[in-house]
């Protein structure tokens, strides 16, 4: 009945219109089973729309979308039986308590009264929410809410879990908790489709990434391949003396073979390092190149106050892929 070679998600030429806006404009996506698949893009790129179409919440206007081989339009009910969704805005009832929310979903999934209560208690415990079990969700913090939301999504282990920007607006500690949960979920064999605006989140969790912009996939591949296509990162410097900036920029340009950007801040310099080698080796390559550049600056007696080596930001990925900065679209 279920062909295991079939991808978890397969779309071809998927189109969704909101009036004049083409939120999805021919989206082609193939998500293999059993991995975390990252969908990366700025606000308005069509990430949420794509997730809502795949979770049967929106009907596409054109193209094909299959989830485990089932058509999201014609076999919506079968799709719903295999997926779970944690939306961008907490998909839990704020007026009810955490416990009541989980029992509600459990009952709707067909658990009997006691089984639903036991399962709810078990999940609250595992997600560190037991002390808040009998409080209304509206009193929860963002991190607690998100954990409850994910707990609701895995009440019955889904085959495919959609996480729509699961860490947007969370503090670093809550974000790490969510990441741990996602890793545990995928280790159990659930496929996770994760949308995010943050390259480091995709980097931490996903093994394949699709970059989407204006409703289309503009790059797709393994993490390593994608990063290599973007460059390995950027060096950010702040100099002691603004007058030395031109000289420093020249040194960086020749030492790193890098694109140098002079910021509005008169003592700041950003240098984008080009690809230093193959998969995996690129990280060390970037650090080595950066330290060589620092040494060169030192030899020329240029005083560097602060220095940091960052991964390419989403803006930089966009710059590299589209030759223009990430734009804010209208449809989120």
């Amino acid at each position: 009945m279920d062909n295991h070679d079939e991808p978890a998600v397969e779309t071809a030429g998927l189109v969704k219109l909101f009036g004049e806006t083409r939120a999805l404009d021919g989206l082609d996506l193939t998500v293999p089973r059993g991995i975390v698949y990252g969908v990366l893009g700025p606000n308005g790129a069509g990430k949420t729309t794509a997730v809502r179409v795949l979770a049967t919440l929106l009907r596409p206007d054109g193209g094909e979308a299959l989830v485990f081989g089932k058509d999201v339009r014609r076999q919506a009910d079968e799709v719903r039986g295999r997926v779970s969704l944690t939306g961008q805005f907490a998909s839990v009832d704020e007026d009810l308590t955490g416990m009541e929310n989980l029992i509600l979903i459990g009952r709707l999934l067909g658990h009997r009264r006691h089984a639903a209560r036991d399962r709810a208690a078990e999940l609250l415990e595992a997600f560190g929410l037991t002390p808040a079990a009998d409080r209304q969700v509206k009193t929860y913090s963002g991190g607690m809410r998100r954990r409850l939301d994910i707990a609701a999504s895995i009440l019955s282990t889904p085959d495919l879990l959609f996480l729509d920007e699961p860490t947007t607006g969370l503090d670093p500690r809550s974000r790490n908790q969510v990441w741990d949960i996602v890793r545990a979920i995928v280790a159990q064999g659930t496929t996770v489709l994760l949308t995010t605006q943050y390259l480091d989140e995709a980097d931490q969790l996903a093994s394949r990434i699709a970059v989407i912009d204006n409703g289309k996939v503009i790059a797709e591949g393994t993490k390593g391949a994608l990063k290599a296509s973007v460059g390995v990162g950027a060096v950010h410097l702040r100099l002691r003396d603004a007058e030395q900036r031109a000289e420093a920029a020249e040194i960086l340009r020749s030492a790193l073979d890098a694109q140098v950007i002079l910021d509005h801040d008169p003592v700041a310099i950003t240098a984008r390092i080009a690809d230093g080698g193959g998969d995996g080796g690129t990280e060390r390559g970037a650090a080595e190149q950066a330290s060589r550049a620092l040494a060169e600056l030192g030899r020329s007696e240029i005083v560097v106050d602060t220095f940091s080596l960052g991964q390419p930001s989403l803006d930089e990925v966009f710059l590299a892929l589209t030759d223009r900065p990430a734009t804010e679209g209208s449809a989120a």
Binding site: R52, A55, T56, L57, R59, D77, R80, G81, V83, S84, L85, G87, Q88, F89, A90, S91, V92, D93, E94, D95, L96, E100, L104, I105, R107, L108, L109, G110, H111, R112, A115, E122, L123, E125, A126, F127, G128, L129, T130, P131, A132, S141, G143, M144, R147, D149, I154, S156, T157, R173, S174, Q177, D180, I181, A184, I185, A187, Q188, G189, T190
Partner: protein, 282 residues
Amino acid sequence: MTTARAKDDEIELAPVAENLASVLVAKERPPRPSALSASITFGWRAVLKIKHVPEQLFDVTAFPIMMTLMFTYLFGGALAGSTTEYLQYLLPGILVTSVVMITMYTGVAVNTDIEKGVFDRFRSLPVWRPAAMVGYILGDLLRYVLASTTIMVIGLILGYRPDGGIVGVLAAVGLLMVFSFAFSWVWTMFGLFMRSEKSVMGVSMLVLFPLTFLSNVFVNPKTMPGWLQSFVDVNPITHLVAACRSTMSGTWDGGEILWVLVASAVLTVVFGTLTMRLYNRK
């Protein structure tokens, strides 16, 4: 305030269990719940909301009391010579008016929910599609029973005496529940397509005022001009009030009762279908 914050921090710090994997292990998926069971679960959610925000029961208790008192003493002397006399005529009508008026809160509840993420979760669950909507109405039926009880109690205190006895009163309330269930689908439809809670309320006033006032609730339609009488005659509220009056006074008008039941079936089919179309497309 300080203690609440400290408590929050503790919960925030509560570690996600190391044996997270054990709760994730794929368990047997239970069979999907029946349509009735899913609807009742959604109804339970509506009841929980009342439990957490009991103030919302104000409109099903205070509003009916106000309506009954106001119209009894305002019109009683003028229309029937005495307030007790008028109450015998008015009470079944005010019962119907009050309950039908509060049916519109179903639409408001639907409208406030659709903006929230929880609606997405409900729509992505593999359950009988109309269950979420039926659940709202089931929860609201509880409110209607409360409103009906309030009005009957205040009516009895003021001197209303139903000749149809307890059976007649229960039959009237039963008919009213059937009709309100059916009529609520009008509001779930508006709740799904109107853009805001305020516009749902606006439309509901536009529908409810003519429907309840241009009927036989307050005065005998024979005193009205002919063109108005023809509207009053097709107004479902007129038939519902006539049916309730008949059971409460013990005369049991089969024709009117049948009219109400058929109208309820038609309302449910038409507006239930429209609601579900909107729900699936939202």
